[in-house]
Amino acid sequence: MTMKLDKFCLVAAIAALLALIFPLSGIDGDTGKQVAFVGDIPGLAIAMALCVIAGAAFTWLGVRSVKAGIVILAVAVFGCWQAVSVLYDHGVAGYAGLGFWLFILSLWAFVWRGIDVIANFHSLDRGKQHLANVIVPVAFGVWLLFVWEVVVSGFGVPQVLLPPPSMIGERFVNSTDILASDFHQTFVKAVLSGYVMGCGSAFIVAIAVDRVPFLKRGLLPLGNMVSALPIIGVAPIMVMWFGFDWQSKAAVIVIMTFFPMLVNTVTGLNAAGKLEKDLMATYASGYWSTLFRLRLPAAMPFVFNALKINSTLALIGAIVAEFFGTPIVGMGFRISTEVGRMNIDMVWAEIALAALAGTAFYGAVAYIERKATSWHPSFRVRRH
């Protein structure tokens, strides 16, 4: 084995070393002095020194095992903690200098190398492999949040442009009552009712259409085309017809979710294989019997596909429809008014809520799908 220097650790060590040398912060306009020095902040100095030592050590040793990866991630986490504390407790926020950014660069190299090792981890133990597969994206997500926080605070980006995640989190926690009422209005009232009505009616229409081949041939191409159209544009019309409250949003959702469900169900009803259909025919199975025993079960993957697509469409429909007029509650309403007032942190809190709701909704549908169509090949665990 030839010795190969670990480039990422080398970068981390050099950047951390330079971070100790270059000024930590810029100059305060009023006092004409630098805001903070590494020498005055023991925690940060230790973190930087640790980065130099760990970086130098692993440059020679190489990061070959998951244990080594965890060690450098631990160093990086300590460094991140110190970096954030310097920003807020020592007034570096808005005055970050070259030294600070070099330190962040060093941390980035460590995090990337650490994640890299865990991402390339292969184990025959399914539990361990699964754990590694979860840790990697979570660590990456946390790192992105950290970078967002540090860049926004360090450069002193005005919070009307982009608030740091900590501020959004604080806003989220402090306005749970507003968020809860918006959630109730938009999600519970509009999205759920529209979703159930839209998907339900399309499902029934699909079964009816399936009995008439002529209609099927006429509706299927149209339905496919409609899914490419900007249906969201019917929102102002629905607001006129059904008023400002949730009914108009539910109506938009019904229209948006109808066609994906119709097209998928009709396609799914034809998904049963010829062999299976012939088998049912040899039993002299009637239409309804074949429908329930063969064609609907075979259609389930398609139906769930539509349910998943629609879960996202429904939330988009409700939020955008609220841009056209609402009572003074609702997620879309809050976004458009708070944007107007330049309360961007509240907008982000609302977006975070929408993201959570969307992911949870999708996740719930996906969970039911897993339970209902566990026989489908796409859920089989690959052995190698």
């Binding site: 991402a119 099927k216 041939r217 006429g218 969201i232 006129m240 017809w241 955008v320 330049m342």
Partner: protein
Amino acid sequence: MSGQTGPVCVVLIALLVLWYVGAVFMNAPTQIDRYERADQTWTTGQLIEDTLAQERPILPAPHQVAVEMYNTIFAIKITSKRSLVYHSWVTLSSTLLGFGIGTLLGVLLAVGIVHVMTLEKSLMPWVISSQTIPILAIAPMIIVVLGAIGIKGLVPKAVISTYLCFFPVTISMVKGLRSPQVIQLDLMRTYNASKWQTFWQLRLPSAMPFLFASLKVAIAISLVGAIVGELPTGAQAGLGARLLAGSYYGQTIQIWSALLTAAFVAAILVVIVGWCERKVLARMGVKP
């Protein structure tokens, strides 16, 4: 596929008839109200005629929308603020700009994800789960925030379209670039082909059907992004602005004509992408 034309026409005609019937029934109450206030006697024939010719109907009749569209598309100079061609162009230009950038970014990201294991494991789960987030909700914020730092007009809308396009393209392209069979990858390996040779000769051609499938989704969603992006700017120009202005002033005919125009633009865009798909795949010798 010729067996579809007949049924599709019949369904379209049925929809048109339904639309007329709907227009009569939905507009009748206000019309009767109007008669009664004017103390006027009326016949059914007159009622039907009048319900289909209201100025601000609840549901405008198809011919009213058609006349409005003709007037604002053909009978007016395209530079006029009332021209739908002008508004369509405003929307279309940011749609196409966003689509172009979004597709490029999406493909590049997919190439990165396919070639760097760590990116796949760390980034890909986020790209996939971002599909479940109602991304369109951030549209007003992007418009306003970019407006606050002096970026206005085409670019903020294109940013929204870019953002919307980018995810489906990435996901499809990752799938597509991974679609070569093991046996084909082994074949390239027996030739000692480099990563780039394998990419150009095998992965990229294999990904083409996936790319086009996602482009159809991307162009449609890009248009939606541009339209929604026009809402918070206070209805200046574009099809979204026409929708919003129409809903402010109760101009239902204007809303419907903007809506139908948007639908036509979307249909044309998807058809163009589909045409390109057929051309490219035919050149690649795919079984027709």
